[in-house]
Symmetry: C2
Subunit: 131 residues, 2 copies
Amino acid sequence: MTRLKIFFLTFSIVAICIFSNSKAYAQAQKQMVRLAKLEIDSTHLQSYKIFLREEIEASIKLEKGVLTLYAVFEVNKPNHLTILEIYKDKKAYEKHIKTPHFKKYKEGTKDMVKALELVETLPLIPNMKIK
Amino acid sequence: MTRLKIFFLTFSIVAICIFSNSKAYAQAQKQMVRLAKLEIDSTHLQSYKIFLREEIEASIKLEKGVLTLYAVFEVNKPNHLTILEIYKDKKAYEKHIKTPHFKKYKEGTKDMVKALELVETLPLIPNMKIK
């Protein structure tokens, strides 16, 4: 291989790497990342969990644009939970809240939720995953 | 293939599926999942972010047992952040806080952190990922 060929090959590989990284970064920049903080009526906690699990599993399975709904319950306040919600973009979120599974959850749990706070956030490292 | 062979093949496949799923589930059950809620001195926010990013990137790269450190800053209170921390197990966490990169972060940011609350949690769906 001539030096020129080697140069062009290296240049092309580097260019592809930069392009694909910047594309992934640009996509990540459009993400909608939110913390939902909820307090649940303790007497309905088990029923609430069933509704939430069903809703999350359906969203992850059926909606490409729902990247995660990671829900955690506090050990010392078992009726307090936080959900890390990541959507591909705002459009994916708008679509999500119109799905039958979201509506079923929202309607089914409306008397169980004592408080709901939605906190818009910006991730420090937008492409972060869970191993 | 005889019926008996088909039966044993099917049985083996089902058994392997159950075993590998239950193994993954048992591993996930041992995870340590936490929310770290921090308030940063606004005058040091940019320096703090540099320290945190360096610490997270090193932890994810060098420590198998650190499954995620997903940090988000609130849009309306930019000096308030939450980190979803997932460790493989308690041992992985104990190891993490002894690493040079964690110690560098802790020492470097000790005058920047105005408040820190560590909240132990239980995930609703332990194997949840980020797409």
